[in-house]
Amino acid sequence: MKHTLSVLLQNKPGALSRVTGLFSGRGFNIESLCVAETIEPKVSCLTLVTRGEDAIIEQITKQLHKLIDVIKVNDISEGEYVEREMVLIRVRAEAHTRAEVLRVIDIFRGKVVDVSPTSYAVEITGPESKIKAVIDILRPIGIKEIIRTGTIAMPRAPKK
């Protein structure tokens, strides 16, 4: 089961190392990881996507809480949340496929950020499902390179 954890960390050198060291040391898996400062410069937010059964996720959450640099751990995937990832894809764009590539990008509301005689680099943002879909569609056309940011996520505000 995929879980998205949002971890608030003290923004100190080594804090990130502690989290990644915890995962590798205990054999927990990191599917993706994205970290940056929050509104409070002394605090960073780390969004981590991991996979495992409930007992493992419980251990992961408790072990993270145990780290002194960790302020808070939230399993965002327990509730409703907004999830986004950005991807830069360099697509092969020969004379006969250039138009098709642009049409696909347009459908996915992406942007072309680089042009060359044989390729386009495109920027697409969206939830994991959208990213997966655009990669699947572009693959037959020819993907030269993909760079992904990893997921960031934020819980949805209570509607009441």
């Binding site: 080594g14 408790k62 072990q63």
Partner: protein
């Protein structure tokens, strides 16, 4: 608010924390600190290997319950301490290890005696710091002590660059340490306590399973009261020995891989397992799917990560053992429905079964005439010290025989590396214990392999008058591995035969100590008596039966009921 150098501030912090003894080894990166320590009232013990320094601080901490302190220089000094830091980490021992570091401008530059010790010890410390800003130094040291001794204790490393030690800092007055991100919970939840107590009243085959947490929490008195009040059989892990009196009729002895037959059978057939300050380690559980299959499980532990980590728990209580046990005792005292005699009578059939198991397969060994049996040596040591000595052990067969055959009735009398299983732990730990309790008899029970790992600390013991005794169970083998090779590898003793072993009697003399040897059974008692009466460090070389085994034994991967017996 005084101005002083970083090094002076460190010394003042240590004095403020109540440190009276610390253990270390100098080097370029800590020479300023060593200079400032000369005037201090703190005894700064010079060891002969940094591993010894940290093990000594560890032994000191286990004996007193205070934070042990070690001071190591940068680079190889720090890395030499890693094994001992990991030892303390695995057994949750409160230590503050100060390491010198190259000046901040040189960090990351592959400087002389530079090593990323914070990176190296990240997985084996409770927390660690690199102090790059001199203004943070005093606050960091105070935080380090706070983290080391609160919640689940553990070693904290503080890496201090040389220029930070030399910088001018302001020594601010001490305030209580408050950390937003670290607030361990001590008080038990009253609802959970009530659930646990009610479960105890309903149980017909309960077992108290206690571990190192009872000792760390100083909860032996509360535990003993609860055990006796509810007439509960008590099984102890290696780390929990002494948490309940071993000679009490309710004691089942040690459980687990080399635990007693009765304790393992009791857990296997129990209907309620009350785990206090123990972590369901693999040495105790054996094959997990066969562990306590019929039992409801109550787990009292201050560390939430230990709860339901290996074994699903029914009634978790995340709290300090001492406070929780006190709350439980109080619940029973206030409960007018509870009657201790009725409780004991209710459990009589269970005790009949336990007595049957204890009689059927007690801890035993065969007597073979003149040949010295290691178990006999430990029994004699126990008898001749009245069970009052502080015993440290090395690792392997010596450790298991010491745990099985010495009668521990009090906490903080067995110092042993349980979690990491570090050979070479016993002797420096004994020195640390002796320096904490000069009045006590301190004996390291060792094997001939283990004792060589930190033998150089005999010099430290002599220099500081820590007159420890060492009982070497000498069989010229790395005994525990040899036993496994005998049982599971067709007696192929690969790498376990020590053809060359020093003459320990001569070695003792070389260090200005006394060496004694016993070669036959009748020589054992006189040697121990002489050692105890000698006003010096004594190495006792017991030439034991070469191929003796530790039994019972639960082979790896087996259920705890599948024990191999003598």
């Amino acid at each position: 608010m005084e101005q002083m150098t970083g090094a002076q501030a460190i010394v003042k912090c240590l004095e403020e924390e109540g440190v009276t003894t610390m253990f270390g080894f100098p080097g370029g990166a800590v020479i300023d600190l060593y200079d400032d320590l000369m005037e201090s009232k703190i005894t700064n013990v010079l060891v002969r290997h940094e591993q010894g320094a940290v093990h000594m601080a560890d032994g000191y901490a286990r004996t007193t319950g205070e934070v042990g302190v070690a001071l190591l220089t940068s680079g190889p000094g720090a890395t030499n301490g890693v094994t001992a830091i990991a030892t303390a980490y695995m057994d949750s021992i409160p230590l503050v290890v100060l390491t010198g570091q190259v000046p901040t401008a040189l960090i990351g530059n592959d400087a002389f005696q530079e090593v990323d010790i914070v990176g190296i010890t990240r997985p084996c410390t409770k927390h660690n710091y690199l102090v790059k800003d001199a203004d943070e130094l005093v606050k960091t040291i105070r935080e380090a002590f706070h983290i080391a001794k609160t919640g689940r204790p553990g070693p904290v490393l503080v890496d201090i660059p040389k220029d930070v030690q030399g910088a001018t800092v302001t020594f601010t007055p001490k305030e209580p340490v408050k950390m937003q991100t670290y607030q361990p919970n001590y008080e038990p939840h009253p609802g959970q306590v009530e659930k646990a107590c009610k479960a105890l009243l309903e149980a017909r085959r309960p077992v108290l399973y206690i571990g190192g947490g009872v000792i760390l929490s100083n909860a032996a008195a509360e535990l003993t009261e609860l055990g006796r009040k509810l007439h509960l059989p008590v099984a102890m892990t290696l780390m929990g020995l002494g948490g309940f009196p071993g000679t009490d009729p309710l004691s089942l002895g040690m459980l687990g891989m080399h635990g007693s037959y009765a304790s393992n059978m009791a857990v296997a057939k129990s209907d309620l397992l009350v785990a206090v300050g123990a972590r369901f380690d693999d040495r105790v559980t054996g094959r997990l799917d066969a562990f306590a299959p019929h039992a409801k499980i109550i787990h009292i532990d201050i560390d939430p990560t230990s709860i339901s980590k290996n074994v699903e728990v029914d009634i978790p209580i995340v709290a300090d053992c001492k406070l929780t046990l006190a709350a439980m005792n109080s619940w029973f005292d206030k409960n007018s429905d509870f009657n201790a005699e009725e409780q004991a009578a209710k459990l009589q059939p269970w005790f009949d079964q336990l007595n049957q198991w204890q009689t059927k397969h007690p801890l035993a060994y065969t007597d073979e005439g003149d040949i010295i049996k290691p178990q006999f040596v430990v029994e004699k040591i126990s008898e001749l010290t009245g069970g009052e000595a502080i015993i440290t052990t090395e690792v392997g067969q010596n450790q298991m025989w010491a745990a099985q055959f010495y009668k521990f009735n009090k906490p903080r009398h067995l110092l042993t590396s349980g979690g990491l299983g570090t050979m070479g732990y016993g002797m420096p730990a004994a020195i640390g214990a002796k320096m904490a309790r000069p009045d006590a008899t301190v004996i390291d029970i060792a094997g001939d392999g283990s004792i060589q790992m930190n033998i150089q600390e005999l010099a430290t013991a002599r220099q500081y008058g820590a007159l420890i005794k060492v009982a070497i169970l000498n069989n010229n083998y790395l005994g525990m591995v040899r036993q496994w090779q005998e049982l599971f590898y067709n007696k192929r003793y690969s790498g376990t035969v020590m053809e060359v072993t020093p003459d320990f009697v001569e070695l003792a003399k070389a260090y200005g100590a006394v060496g004694l040897r016993a070669k036959t059974k009748d020589e054992v008692e006189p040697v121990i008596k002489e050692a105890l009466a000698t006003d010096n460090i004594v190495l006792m070389d017991f030439v034991i039966n070469r191929e003796e085994g530790v039994f019972p034994m639960v082979p790896a991967g087996k259920a705890t009921t599948e024990m191999l017996l003598v």
